[in-house]
Amino acid sequence: MSSEIIIEKLSIKYRSSIVFENVSLDIKKSEFFVLLGPSGCGKTTLLNAIAGFLKPHSGKIYVDGKEVKQPGLDRCVIFQNAESALFPWMTVKENSEFGLKLRNIGSKEERNSLIKKFLKKTNLDGHEAKYPKELSGGMKQRLQLARTLVMNPPIILMDEPFANLDAQTRRLMQLELIEIWRETRNTIFYITHDLREAVILGKRIAVMSRGPKAVIKNIYKLENHYPRDLTTNECNNLLREIEENLIEEVRIGENN
């Protein structure tokens, strides 16, 4: 299941200052869309607006033609800090079952088999009875992912989910995420400040500028297939091009 997201001239103010204005984006069904930008440029604010946590100052967001006004079951979010997003008093299985139980989806057996399937997919099988505090950082993020996938949301919004992980675990998680996405084909809106991660994951990469009024400057499209090899000419050229673009953005931001 997947949906498209259309963002039209969106502006968001925080108190009296403008975070960004006139941002327009068009995210296609089943697309892996990455939003890249320096820290503090407003990426998370945009994600929160799509999730329905924030009200825009002006402009509109549509999911499958329907305007976003509040959080909805069609848009699940995976947060950067799994520690605070998971429910520490619930086991891995109970965490995964939370949304299904809340919405009364399926019989107990159906729920169990669904959870089993996605815990296996996220390499968490065998850990069902553990509590979040007993899991490593990577496993906690896998649990957030499993908990989201069992709900089969058309859109998954991911807020730098691997930023707190060590380099090796991050690489492994990126590969796993791509594998899962290729199978499930949910629309993914993924934000990161890590350029290499953006090129490894994204079908399209939008670069957000930094400054008092951030805008989306360029959108890059990647043609080659997954899993991506960053040493190919296409990836290399793209990395260089985006990097120059980003450095310029950081400079502008610092001078402002």
């Binding site: 959080p71 605070s84 998971l86 429910f87 520490p88 008093w89 919405r103 957030q144 709900m151």
Partner: protein, 253 residues
Amino acid sequence: MNKAVIIIRRFFIPIIFFFIGWQIIGFLTPDIFWPSLGTFLTTTYKTLASGEIYRHLGHTMARVYGGWAIGGLAGAFFGVVIGESVVASDILKPYLTLGRFIPAIAWIGVFIIWFGSGVPSILALVIYSSTFLSILPTLNGMIYAGSLTERIRSAQVMGANRWDIFLKIKIPTALPQIWTGIRTALAVSFLQIVAAEMLVGSTGLGYVIWTSRIYFLITKMFVAIFMLGFVGYLSDVVLQNIGIKFLKKYGIK
């Protein structure tokens, strides 16, 4: 560490120190102020064997547990309500802040006029103090639970409405602090009961301590004092273990 060593260190050594310390002070002070170890042990034995003290103990405990159960639960309830509702918080918080600076015992005169000089006044005091004691930790727990934006939002995107978030996310998150409030309220109930029984009681350990003073029954006073400490300690251990057994997954240690 070896289990026997732990038992020796935690139980036997403190008891031996207690007896040695007791005897040293007993040597240095007249019997009327501090009985010798022999007098203390025989009087303790006689007091415990006579059975009279247990009636007082029973009355004190019934008042402590009764008042604490009502007050602790009421405090937890008000703490949750105030923590959840901004309006209730705005209206009630000034009273809470003010109330914190009024010692519970200051109300005993008022309670005597309202409820008479007896058990109802003692109960009112215990209920009052344990309510106050458990409101604040509960309130802090609820405020903390409300500050965990990501936890609340992650429940929201899975379909949780306000009631679900309150019941299934905020209360479990605040539970360790609610429990701390309830436990502290029990300890404070023990403090209040003695003062209340001294002033308005006709039974109870507080009453025993207060009336023994008139006849210089220093040993009997010690027995009642230690009995309170012992039962209080035991109650806290039992409560702590109940918490660990049933609420461990919520982070109660």
